[in-house]
Amino acid sequence: MKDNQKRYWKGLEQLSNDPEFVKNSEKEFPDYLPINSNSGEGGGPSRRDFLKMMGFGIAAASLAACEAPVRKAIPYLNKPVDVDPSIPNYYASTYASEGNYCSIVVKTREGRPIKIEGNRFSTITEGGTGPQVEASVLSLYDSARLRQPKVKGEDADWASLDREVLNGLRGARNLKIVSNTILSPSTKAVINEFTSRFGGEHIVYDSYSSYALIEAHRENFGQPAVPSYRFNRANVIVSFGADFLGNWLSTVEINKQYSKTRKLGPEKKTMSRHYQFESVLSMTGSNADYRSPIRPSQEGAAIAALYQLVSGGNGGAIAQEIPYLQKAAKDLLANRGQSLVVSGSNDIAVQRIVNAINSTLGNYGTTIDINQPAYYRQGNDRRMAQFVSDVQAGNVGAVVFLDCNPVYDYAGGLALGQALEGNKVKVKISMSDRMDETAALCDYVAPGHHYLESWNDYEPKQNMFSLAQPAIRPIFQTRQVEESLLSWSGAAETNYFNYLQNRWRTDLFGQQQEITDFQQFWDTVLYTGVFVPGRPLNLEPNMDQLENTAQTVDQTGAAPVFTGNTNGDIRQVQQTYKTDPEQVELVIYSKVGIGSGKQANNPWLQEMPDPVTKVTWENYMTISMAMAKEFGLEMNEGKSAMVNLTVGDTTMEVPVVIQPGQANGTVGVSLGYGRWVAGKVADNRGFNAYPFIRIVDGVCQYNVISGVKVENANKAYRIARTQTHETFMGRQTVIQDSTLAEYQENAKAGRFEPVIATADGPKDPETLSLWDGHLYPNHHWGMVIDMNSCTGCSACVVACHIENNVPVVGKDEVLNRREMHWLRIDRYYSSNAEVGDYAGLEEASENPEVTFQPMLCQHCNNAPCETVCPVVATTHSSEGVNQMTYNRCIGTRYCANNCPYKVRRFNWFKYHDNKDFADTNTQMNDDLGKMVLNPDVTVRARGVMEKCSFCVQRIQGGKLQAKREGRRPVDGEIITACASSCPTDAIVFGDMNDNDSRVVKLLKAEANGRAYKVLKEIGTRPNVFYLTKIRNKDSEEEVTA
């Protein structure tokens, strides 16, 4: 076809064909379309962006349509300067409750206190803790705490409460303010301001009173206080019913002191000798070298006889009758000035005789210091009794209960409760942080802070101060009790922190010369937590120096002058106590875990087994083996029986525990249980033993020697014990012990060294193995446990519970033998039977020797658990730690079966977020409780195995810290929770590849001495070593029944 001459055009532009058009027509798309910006360089959105937007839109719309779970993690909008997520902060503070004192360090994570550690700056507690101290952090997150003030049972605000309270107080005549022992001088000053403002009186009582001890010292020495005891200086310790390691005065401090006298090694082959004369087998009695079960009615006479023996007399018939009394006297006389006699009696005459004995022996000025009084117990029984009768008579117009609960924990509490209920007092104010038995009867409840939310200062001993600082902002609308009192008194300064600082500025700042700036002084004291005038304010925890200063502090003054009529006291005691062999006698004691019952709503303490009976969750009546037989009572596994216990006109049906070592003709019950307004954990657990306490002449008597009746109720009962087999069946590979006399001759005394018969003759089990062994190129963690230092106090058990988020399982599951403790303390009684008489070995002897053995994963180098796991969920680390991989575990429990030490624990149920465990395992079942969980440790799922990890999170944390600082970890820097809590330094943890570590030094020293491995002959090669238990007995003495 020829070229068509006709021309068609799209528009005039094409026709004219101007350059502009030509340029545009070459482009596929016109300029105004956003095509050119496809590369995105043009800045505008591209097609791809459009697709992205669309994709996002669809995804976002569909995601938004899904219901997302509400998680209550709120990020910091403004991060606090010193809070870094995942980095813990530590604050020195002080635990002081009912006069029990411990200097502590609070570990906080993201602003939440999660763990209590001991404060090594303190010369009193020296870094130790106790179970109640450890557990107190959970009480902070107790859902039973009050969230705001209450007026007549209704929620109220502080303004209206203050108004009503002030109205009430102004018009009230005869105001009383009631408290337990208060260690804080500033709090006392506040109380003084309050009482002087309203003209009232401050009444102090103690749930377990030491009034007689205080009163006797007032009478004999003119010093109305508990003296400072120095157990560490005593070669001979004689205790009459004082459970000084368990519940007497200052247990952390005394455990620390006592353990120093029990350490043995190649350099020190001597130890203290401890006599215990008591009725119930206490934890202290379990540690005694010579223990003599006596009736409470014999106690006074025994003390009197001991006085006569040490002052040259013959002690009379009773000295013959009570075993070891004469021996004790002989030892005391041989150790004048280096011995100590203590008594738990609350009879003033008895305590006066004890003072006379100590005075005769010259112990004042050496092992007892009355020139530096301690304030651990300040309760005045007589004034308290007077107060109760005043209330009953309607003579009290207003009463303020300052964080105390006398309706429950005072002997006359029920009478007081009736009087309060009957409105015998017009204005009733409680300052308890929770609804308790007393607060429930008060019109006004002005809840105070938990101690971890509070500022305070303490003076546990004269001139030894410590500070408490808040580790968290108040969780609820509570107000520190001191602030409430200050505002009610109309003080000029109602901010307690300022009040406190002002007092320190005027009183204490001047008592040192090192620091001239008050703020710097304050910060320094806050850092170390303690202040002792005259002691350098060190910021480095230099233990050597600490010990030196401890020595200086130990300088006791000149022996004080004893004045008293001891012979008169002896006559009085002999008249008061008459032993009737037909009469059952009752001893009322308090337990290591629950104590007075103040922290009863704390599940960690409820689940902590009693060190001696191993019973959890409740109290019971202990009865001697002979009496049990007489009453036809039996105890087998969890099965026990009920008896009717009658004291005076009170009868209660109580469960029974048959207790070896219990004095015949006596029974014992413990305080702290049977609470009725405490919270879901504690309510109605066990029975209330306070009504059994007799008040004689205004003084509480914890021994009832007449009017006690026991009848078999013929009713079965199940009692939850974590250990039901009492003896160690003569198994020497488990428990190795000896006497001091033998040990002094041979450091390996009591050691059992198994050998394996092979074709090449007998061999050490460690030399035989199927395995090649492991290489530990970097660290090799190990632990040494000194059974001679361990007193069984169970601080480690609770510390482990907290550190590792171990669930609490409750009474029913303990009955099912499923408690979860990673670390337990095995308690074994001795038996009189011959080795080989298996049936006989199952029976403990009537007055057994007791051995405590902390038992945890032994981190075997040839671990039986590791080989049997089908999915390799438990493995050996290159640092010698036997580790569990929870998310790999399928729960066959084969490892637990094959563990010779039975330390593996299985999650039988889901323990967290499970309503079945809401009342027991509170730290995993409510939002408040969960705040205490250690974020470094997984909360385990149902169906997986768990066990001691050697606190691997602490190991990793320590290693990381060292790595960041470009150095090797220092010995003592990485330490497990159990070792860190131990008040007796019985547990030493460290790197066995580090030749300078304490573990290596200890093992080197004890390699040919006391160190042994449990069940060595199986060839598991544990990384945990034990040091033999040595009893300070004379060699000629046989174990007496």
Binding site: M729, N816, R817, V868, P870, I890, G891, T892, R893, P900
Partner: protein, 457 residues
């Protein structure tokens, strides 16, 4: 050609012909279910239902529903597992070992025995899964499969893993063996079937069996090969199950005698279970001509022999414990016999050692009622044997502080009932819809060992 001596007891009595065999066995499959069968199945299903609730609670709430505790990690779960696996031994032994040894008497019992084996192994398999804390993961994590979990692998040192292999192999070989044996009989039923469903189902099940000489020859060959494969498995399964205990360090478990002891025990209990079931089936289905008193007597002899082996093993254990001089070993055995679980040990000894000795008397071993009672006694005894080994060894091992007692809960019982329900449901379904006697093989012995043939000669 097998020559049988005329003095030998006939294996098939009452002059049954080949046609009679087909008729007697097939009619049970073809006829309508009897009320008795319906009742039996209903009871089984009820058991299964109740048991399912127990299984559900175990899975939903956790192993805590059972009585196991920190000391006794395994109790009824693994007791039941080993018990069922033991029962599952007789079938393969009868079909494989006796086939290799040309024991013709096995023909009339091997079908039911094998079925029982398979059902017992199914029941046994419930426990390794249920006893896990997290079965939803464990059921496949215990297998060595390639994965992207960070190349997690199983632990070949663990006897539990060996169990996985041993039991799954045993189960699959037994199943195949059983099914191969069923094919000719399915074909017979297919050929006789009238209904379309039966025709289709049995047609499919018989895999196109044509009855040709070549087919029969292949059938024989496969049977022989499978018998050869299955024979070592009879020994291996319980050997490996016993390793779960034998390789551990627990006194009472750590014993080299376990493999033969467990295998003998397994055959012992397996034969007892076969007897329990066959005596009932024989009566209900009127199969007295096929399962004769001779069969029962022969099985009783095996029970007596294996029972005696087990007895010797028990005594050897006691001897070795004494002879070893190991304190823990000695205590473990003393504790079994005289400790708090003495009654379990006494039951075990009575049922397993003393009672089979009754079979020395011909009068007793040919007495059906006595055999029936004793077959149940033996299995009670064997259950207690496993209970004694597992629970009484664990409850008092090395560290006396951890010594504890075990008491079962309703859920332990429920899960055990679940397996009974499962077992009997499967067995009754089998008895109704599958030929309970291997027709093809019984026909093969008619010529040589039936009463008719012997008379003719």
């Amino acid at each position: 050609m097998q020559i049988s001596a005329p003095v030998r007891e006939p294996l098939v009595t009452d002059g049954k012909t080949i046609k009679d065999v087909t008729q007697d066995i097939s009619v049970r499959v073809e006829s309508k279910p009897t009320p008795l069968w319906m009742l039996a199945l209903a009871i089984s299903l009820a058991l299964l239902g109740i048991g399912t609730y127990a299984v559900f609670r175990t899975l939903w709430d956790g192993i805590g529903m059972w009585g196991n505790n920190k000391t006794i990690g395994w109790a009824w779960d693994i007791t039941n597992f080993v018990w069922w696996v033991g029962i599952g031994h007789a079938g393969t032994l009868i079909s494989a070992v006796l086939l290799l040894f040309r024991q013709k008497w096995r023909t009339s019992i091997n079908r039911a025995a094998e079925a029982m084996t398979i059902f017992a192994v199914i029941c046994a398999l419930q426990f390794p899964v249920l006893h896990m804390g997290r079965p939803w993961l464990g059921a496949y994590w215990a297998l060595p499969f390639p994965n992207t979990f960070g190349s997690l692998w199983v632990n070949f040192n663990s006897p539990l893993l060996w169990d996985v292999f041993a039991i799954s192999t045993y189960f699959s070989v037994s199943l195949v063996f059983w099914y191969i044996g069923l094919i000719p009989d399915f074909a017979t039923i297919r050929n006789r079937a009238t209904g379309p469903i039966a025709k289709a189902v049995y047609g499919a099940l018989s895999l196109g069996w044509d009855g040709a000489a070549k087919t029969w020859q292949r059938y024989e060959t496969v049977s022989l090969i499978l018998a050869g494969l299955a024979t070592p498995l009879v020994l291996s399964v319980h050997t490996i199950v016993s390793f779960d205990f034998a390789t551990s360090v627990i006194p009472g478990w750590h014993t080299t005698i376990f493999p033969p002891y467990f295998v003998a025990g397994a055959i012992f209990s397996g034969f007892a279970m076969v007897l329990t079931l066959m005596i009932i089936t024989r009566k209900v289905y009127g199969l007295e001509s096929y399962i004769t008193i001779t069969h029962i007597e022969l099985m009783n002899i095996i029970i007596m022999v294996t029972g005696s082996i087990v007895g010797v093993a028990y005594i050897t254990e006691l001897f070795v414990a004494w002879y070893s001089g190991v304190e823990y070993e000695q205590y473990a055995f003393l504790n079994r016999a005289t400790g708090p679980y003495w009654w379990a040990y006494a039951t075990m000894m009575t049922c397993n050692v003393i009672s089979p000795q009754m079979f020395w008397f011909k009068g007793l071993r040919t007495n059906i009622a006595f055999t029936f009672v004793l077959s149940i006694v033996v299995n009670i005894g064997m259950w207690f044997e496993r209970f004694v080994i597992i629970v009484t060894s664990l409850h008092r091992d090395y560290i006396p502080s951890s010594w504890a007692m075990f008491s079962p809960t309703l859920y332990d019982l429920g899960v055990y009932m679940f397996t009974f329900g499962l077992f009997f449901t499967l067995f009754f379904l089998f008895a109704k819809f599958f030929p309970v006697i291997n027709m093809a093989e019984v026909k093969s012995v008619l010529k040589s060992s039936s009463a008719t043939e012997q008379i003719k000669r």
